[in-house]
C-alpha cells in the first residue's frame, strides 16, 4: 500500500504532536516564563510586578553569595564525581571479577540507598552527624579521638564537606549497577588473552575493562554532574538549610531562599536562568573532554 505525502505527515503528527505538546507545557513554558520573570521585580506572592530590565542580572553579578554558591555546587560536583566513580568502579569490579559468593547480597545493600527518598537520607544523616548523640562523634569518642569530634553540620568549615558523604553514599548503587552491566558485556576471551600475554589484574583493569566500559563511565559522570547541579538543593535544604552563614548554600537552595523566603521571585528566576546556562556549559565542556572513540577489540 503506497502512502500519500499527506498521510505520511498526518502519521508523523499523530506520533509527535502529543509529546511535543506535553514538552511545550511542562518544559518550554516554565523555561520561558522563568526567563520572562527574571526581568521583573516581583515578590511571587502578589499579582503586581514591575518590569526592571536587566537589573536582576546586574544584581546577580554583584551578589557576593552567588559566587560562593557556584563554588559550593562545583565542589559537590567534583567530590561526588570522584567519590562515586572510584567507589562504584571498585565495587563493580569486585563484585563481577573477584567471584565473591555473596555478590547478590552486596548488590542489594549498595543499591538500597537509591530506593530511599533523598529527604529520608538527609534526615538520617542529620542524626548521624548530631554533635551529642550522633554516630560519628560517638564513634570518634569510642576510638579515643574526642578531639576530632565537632558539630559537623554547624561548623562553617566542615558543613559543606559533611554533605559529600551522604551524597556519595546515596549515589554509589545506581552507578555500580551501570558499570557492572558494562563489565558483564566484556567478553571473557579478552581477559584470557591478556592473561596469556602476561598482563596482571591491574593491567587488565586499565587496558581491558576501563576502555570497554568507557561509554558507561561517560554517561555516569554526565548524570552525576547534571543531577548534582540541579538536585543538591534537596540535601542542602534538609540538612543545613544553606547555613551556617551561607556556608552550604548551593545555587538551587539560594534560589529557593530568594524566591520563597525573601519574596524576590524575579531574582530567584534570574538565578534559575544562571543554573540553566551553567549546567549547559558544564555538560558541553564535559562532552568535549570525555569524547573518545568507541573501543572495540
Amino acid at each position: 500500500m503506497v502512502q500519500s505525502k499527506k498521510q505520511k505527515y498526518l502519521f508523523l503528527a499523530f506520533c509527535l504532536l502529543p509529546t511535543f505538546i506535553m514538552f511545550a507545557i511542562f518544559t518550554l513554558y516554565p523555561l520561558f516564563s522563568g526567563l520572562y520573570y527574571s526581568f521583573f521585580d516581583w515578590s511571587g506572592s502578589a499579582e503586581n510586578k514591575e518590569f526592571i530590565g536587566i537589573d536582576n542580572y546586574i544584581h546577580l553579578f554583584n551578589d557576593a553569595i552567588i559566587a560562593d554558591t557556584i563554588i559550593h555546587d562545583y565542589f559537590l560536583v567534583v567530590t561526588k564525581v570522584i567519590g562515586i566513580m572510584i567507589l562504584a568502579m571498585f565495587f563493580a569490579v569486585a563484585l563481577t571479577q573477584l567471584k565473591i559468593k555473596e555478590a547478590p547480597f552486596y548488590r542489594i545493600i549498595f543499591f538500597f540507598p537509591n530506593i530511599m527518598s533523598v529527604v529520608v537520607i538527609g534526615i538520617l544523616w542529620t542524626f548521624i552527624y548530631n554533635p551529642s548523640m550522633g554516630f560519628i562523634n560517638s564513634g570518634l569518642e569510642f576510638l579515643g579521638l574526642e578531639s576530632w569530634a565537632k558539630p559537623w553540620l554547624g561548623d562553617e568549615k566542615w558543613a559543606l564537606p559533611s554533605l559529600v558523604l551522604p551524597s556519595i553514599w546515596a549515589g554509589i548503587g545506581l552507578f555500580m549497577l551501570m558499570l557492572m552491566g558494562g563489565i558483564a558485556n566484556v567478553s571473557k576471551s579478552y581477559y584470557e588473552a591478556a592473561e596469556i600475554d602476561g598482563a596482571n589484574e591491574w593491567q587488565q583493569f586499565w587496558k581491558v575493562t576501563l576502555p570497554l566500559v568507557w561509554p558507561q563511565i561517560k554517561i555516569s559522570v554526565l548524570y552525576i554532574v547534571i543531577t548534582t547541579l540541579n538536585g543538591s538543593f534537596i540535601i542542602v535544604q534538609i540538612m543545613t538549610g544553606g547555613g551556617p552563614n551561607n556556608s552550604t548554600h548551593v545555587m538551587g537552595s539560594y534560589l529557593y531562599q530568594q524566591a520563597f523566603k525573601q519574596y524576590n521571585f524575579g531574582y530567584g528566576a534570574t538565578i534559575g536562568v544562571m543554573i540553566l546556562i551553567l549546567s549547559l556549559i558544564t555538560v558541553l565542556i564535559l562532552q568535549f573532554f570525555m569524547r573518545r572513540d568507541k573501543v572495540e577489540y
Partner: protein, 455 residues
C-alpha cells in the same frame, strides 16, 4: 488500514483533543477575567445593602504551636450569630504556601491570620494585598463600649503613610525560657540582667557540665528577635529598635548596638553558647532544652504548647525577659504580634469586617489563653483567676504588667526578610566565634546599606 484510521472518527477525536488541550493551556487569563467579573457581581449580592451579612466568608489561618481549637470555637460561635454566612476555612501548618497561588491571582480569602512560615505582613503590605482599616477601626468598639483602638496591649503596626492594614490579634512575646525544675533543684537563680545572666550561666556550666545556652542556628532570627531586639530596646529604646529594623544609616554600627554585640561575643568566648547550635533547627534546639542538655533558650510564648507532646513530666518551664539589660534596669520585652487582616480584594468585605469585630472581645481573649497558653492582644483581661490558664502564663502575665520588672518596647513593624536574612547569617558567624563583634556590626551595616538601596 492507516488511511481508514485517519479518515475516520478517531482522527477527528484526536485533533479535537489536541485543540482542547491547547485552548485550555492558553486561556487562563481570559478565564480569570471572566471569573473576576462574575465573582464581583456576587460580592454585591453579599454586601450589606440591607444591613445583614450573608454569603461565603473565606478565612485563612495558620495552625502552628497554638493549635486550632480556639479558631474552631470562635468560628462556631460566629456561625451561630450569623447563620446566613457560610464560612470556608483554609487552615493548616502549610496554609501560607497552599494559598499563595490564590493571592498571586488576586483571588484571596476574605480574612487572613498572618502567622507562620511563608507569611509576611510587611510583604503583604508592600504588595498592596491588605485592606486599609485606618478609618473603619476607629468606629469599632468592644462589648463594654470601649473603642477597640484603646484596648490593644500593643497598637496596630503603622506603615510609612501612617495607615493601618492589620490588627494585632496574638500578643506573642519572645523571651528566654529556663529549666525551672533544674533551677529549683540546684538553687540557681533566674537572671534579671546581663551580669547575673553571665554568672548563672557560669555556675550551670560548671555544675552541670553543659553549655547553658542554646538556640537554633538554622533559623537565626530566633536569637535576633528573642534576644537582640530586647537588648537593643533596653540599650537605645524604641528609636534604636525602629532604626535597626528599618536598617537606618548608622544604626547597626552605633555604639549601642556594638555594646550589645560585645555581650554576645562575651557569651560565645566564655563557651556558654552550645557550639553545635549552628546545625540545629528550632525543634532540635527545643528538644535539647527539654532533655536538660541546655538550660536557657530564646523562644516565644508558644514553646510549651508546641512541645507539649515531648515535654517530660517533671519538666517545668520558666520564662524571663531576655536578660541583656544592664544591672538596675528593668528587663525588656519586644512583643511580636500576629495580626488579623482583611484582603484588599476580599469578595465579602462586610462579613470579613463583622468577623474581625466579633473576634476582638475580652471573652475570646480569656478563652485564647486557655486554649493556647498565650495572650491575646487586649488589655484588662484577668487571667489570674482562670484555673484553666497554665502557671507560667499567669507568672509571665503578671511580670509583663509590672513596669518595675519589665518594660515593654514596641517595634514599628517586622523586619523585612531582605534585611533579616543577611544579618542573621552574620549573627551565626559571630555566635560560632568566627567573627568579632566589630566585624559583625560592619557586615550588618553593609547589609542595611544594600537593603536601603534595594528599596
Amino acid at each position: 488500514m492507516v488511511k481508514k484510521l485517519f479518515n475516520g472518527r478517531l482522527l477527528f477525536l484526536l485533533v479535537a483533543m489536541l485543540m482542547l488541550a491547547l485552548v485550555a493551556a492558553c486561556s487562563s487569563d481570559d478565564d480569570k477575567d471572566k471569573d473576576g467579573e462574575a465573582k464581583g457581581e456576587e460580592t454585591t449580592d453579599n454586601g450589606s445593602s440591607d444591613g445583614e451579612i450573608s454569603g461565603d466568608l473565606e478565612i485563612q489561618y495558620f495552625v502552628g504551636g497554638y493549635g486550632d481549637s480556639w479558631w474552631k470555637e470562635v468560628i462556631g460561635d460566629f456561625k451561630e450569630k450569623y447563620p446566613d454566612v457560610n464560612i470556608i476555612e483554609h487552615a493548616g501548618p502549610n496554609i501560607n504556601e497552599e494559598m499563595r497561588s490564590r493571592w498571586v491571582s488576586a483571588d484571596p480569602p476574605d480574612v487572613v491570620y498572618i502567622d507562620g512560615a511563608g507569611s509576611s505582613e510587611t510583604q503583604m503590605v508592600e504588595d498592596g494585598q491588605l485592606m486599609d482599616l485606618t478609618e473603619w477601626i476607629k468606629g469599632v468598639k468592644l462589648e463594654d463600649g470601649t473603642p477597640l483602638m484603646d484596648s490593644f496591649i500593643v497598637e496596630p503596626a503603622q506603615y510609612d503613610d501612617g495607615k493601618i492594614y492589620s490588627l494585632p490579634l496574638v500578643f506573642d512575646t519572645w523571651g528566654t525560657w529556663y529549666d525551672k525544675a533544674l533551677f529549683e533543684e540546684k538553687g540557681y537563680e533566674a537572671p534579671k540582667d546581663f551580669e547575673s545572666f553571665m554568672s548563672t550561666m557560669g555556675e550551670i556550666k560548671e555544675g552541670e557540665d553543659i553549655a547553658p545556652f542554646v538556640t537554633t542556628g538554622q533559623y537565626p532570627y530566633y536569637f535576633l528577635r528573642g534576644v537582640l531586639y530586647p537588648a537593643f530596646a533596653a540599650a537605645g529604646g524604641e528609636e534604636l529598635l525602629a532604626n535597626v529594623i528599618d536598617g537606618a544609616e548608622g544604626a547597626w554600627s552605633s555604639d549601642a548596638v556594638l555594646e550589645v554585640m560585645k555581650k554576645v561575643e562575651e557569651m560565645q568566648k566564655a563557651g556558654y553558647i552550645d557550639e553545635g547550635f549552628g546545625a540545629l533547627n528550632h525543634t532540635q534546639s527545643q528538644m535539647n532544652f527539654l532533655l536538660h542538655d541546655n538550660a536557657f533558650i530564646p523562644v516565644g510564648f508558644w514553646l510549651p504548647n508546641e512541645m507539649a507532646k515531648d515535654t517530660p513530666e517533671d519538666f517545668k518551664y520558666g520564662f524571663i525577659p531576655s536578660p541583656m539589660n544592664n544591672a538596675g534596669e528593668p528587663g525588656a520585652i519586644v512583643p511580636d504580634l500576629r495580626p488579623l487582616a482583611i484582603a484588599k480584594e476580599a469578595e465579602n468585605p462586610e462579613a470579613a469586617k463583622a468577623f474581625v469585630e466579633f473576634v476582638f472581645t475580652k471573652e475570646y481573649a480569656s478563652l485564647f489563653s486557655e486554649h493556647t497558653g498565650a495572650i491575646m492582644n487586649l488589655t484588662g483581661v484577668d487571667l489570674s483567676t482562670n484555673e484553666n490558664v497554665p502557671e507560667y502564663l499567669i507568672d509571665a502575665n503578671a511580670m509583663i504588667n509590672d513596669p518595675e520588672q519589665v518594660q515593654i518596647y514596641n517595634k514599628p513593624h517586622p523586619m523585612s526578610a531582605d534585611l533579616e536574612t543577611p544579618i542573621s547569617n552574620s549573627l551565626v558567624s559571630l555566635m560560632l566565634g568566627n567573627i568579632s563583634a566589630e566585624e559583625f556590626v560592619k557586615e550588618a551595616e553593609k547589609a542595611a546599606e544594600q537593603y536601603r538601596n534595594s528599596k
